[in-house]
Symmetry: C2
Subunit: 337 residues, 2 copies
Amino acid sequence: MTSDGNRQITLSQRPVGYPTESDFSLVESPVPHPREGEVGVQAIWLSLDPYQRGRIRGGASYAAPVELGEVITGGVVGRVIESRTPSFQVGDIVEGPLGWQEYALSDGRNLRKVDTTMGPLPTALGVLGMPGMTAYFGLLDVGQPKPGDTVVISAASGAVGQVVGQIAKIMGCRAVGIAGSQEKIDYIVDELGFDAGINYKTENLDTALATACPLGVDVYFDNVGGVVTDAVLEHINTFARNVICGQISQYNLEEPEPGPRNLGLLIIHQARMEGFLVFQFAHRYEEGRQRIAGWMKAGKVKYREHVVEGLENAPRAFMGLMRGENFGKLLIKVSGE
Amino acid sequence: MTSDGNRQITLSQRPVGYPTESDFSLVESPVPHPREGEVGVQAIWLSLDPYQRGRIRGGASYAAPVELGEVITGGVVGRVIESRTPSFQVGDIVEGPLGWQEYALSDGRNLRKVDTTMGPLPTALGVLGMPGMTAYFGLLDVGQPKPGDTVVISAASGAVGQVVGQIAKIMGCRAVGIAGSQEKIDYIVDELGFDAGINYKTENLDTALATACPLGVDVYFDNVGGVVTDAVLEHINTFARNVICGQISQYNLEEPEPGPRNLGLLIIHQARMEGFLVFQFAHRYEEGRQRIAGWMKAGKVKYREHVVEGLENAPRAFMGLMRGENFGKLLIKVSGE
């Protein structure tokens, strides 16, 4: 499906619980043209990420919410098709938060030129983009793994989790991934080299963790929260670091779900729990990108993408992301490269 | 009440929920005499502390539990009355974990000589003892307050909390205490110089926190957990440090009490939560003691003790401690100084 206009996905109503198709609208407007100081970008790849659920919730958070009728927030890799700033040339491949739409304008402040020699274009939204940076800084700076540590990762086959586990292995750690299907478990163990995988849908978490982490858990990289996190906390070691990256199990609840008050475990184990947003490491993204790119070249970091064709399919793909139906970094192919 | 023997309080059964008198026994045995390498100590002051609830629970924790029939764990200041080691002389005032009893033996490993010039004897169990060290290292090393930060303290008039708030003031912070009576609030504000106090039993925590912490909460020093902690977390600032020192609201529950799954707040605020045991700072106790003693001398750190006379009253006093009925550091006066 193509059109002569600019197709956009906007927020038609705030989701209650899991998002549904009717929360989104596909609208079309004229392709915008840059004013002085701006560039016009045609989207090629659109990134779908769990944080977007927070943006369409409304209410105060670390970023302003998407308002009703506005284009949904999202990272995009695209091509500069018009430029009225010396900073960008027509044909440049750029990455930035341009949203769920085919064409966008930017004043360049949030836009970066993609070094296309580092990897295929969509990696700028995945392993070499925000999820990769999240994995790199979240694990290394917040989690501070030491060789021999056991690192447990929830949503382990996801865009962030798959990178966390591989970096943990590079750092000499035991990597244990938690995911929701045998296919995902097989992937992280057989393809990515995790030491063990736990299927949270079919296994008893407590016994599976005891088996997979015979020496306990030193670093827990949490993308999901809820019962998975409750279970992992029962296995943490003294001075454990719990990196709170995401809590996707909680994002689509109509009513907040109570859980055990287990902060006493942090005392007993003298353990830390820390939430972070990747933006705090923005000044070091180049470091992260270079190191991950180096590991990719050396065959030590692989990645898996889940590609859905066509902007119009973004809402349905996003609904699947909320339920863990994607397998790898979820991307929308908006137009040809 | 005195006797010629060694009166001891032992654990007769493990408490279910709040401890009751029948969980404890008052027994009497002969006064023990040291063997080669040991000292005999007569207890003067016994410290009652919330951690002791964990020790009589049974089950694995950071320390072995008190077994049925054993003397309850507790810090003691006493006088050496017999010595068969060159390390201690008869008459020395010593402090160590000698338990709820009038006389005890020690091989000296857990015993320290008390510098009686630093403060009255019971301060070795309070402001210059374990609670003071807990306050000092918990606030400064774990909480890392900066001048201008707002520091909120739960159980603010307790042995640890009262010291935390005063050190927070010394560090140039705004100190806000949460306690369970108007008398306690008046004390921490009028006597100790806290900037504000919140009575968690009579005030709406959310609105009271908003009023008392107009710039939000940078450091939360938590001694209680439960609904108080749930409320404070809703007010934390970016990069907030939540020092998890105690969770007394949870220690006497027959069934674990569920609470909101609010770890997402740590992400949004990029905040840290850290549990600790004071023992991790044992190599720096002398630093902590010297600094607090200096502040005491300068009139910048005051303290309040709640003294109960007679070992036989320890169980009842401990039961009161579990319900917040003490007002200040709870001590049993076991014998005359």
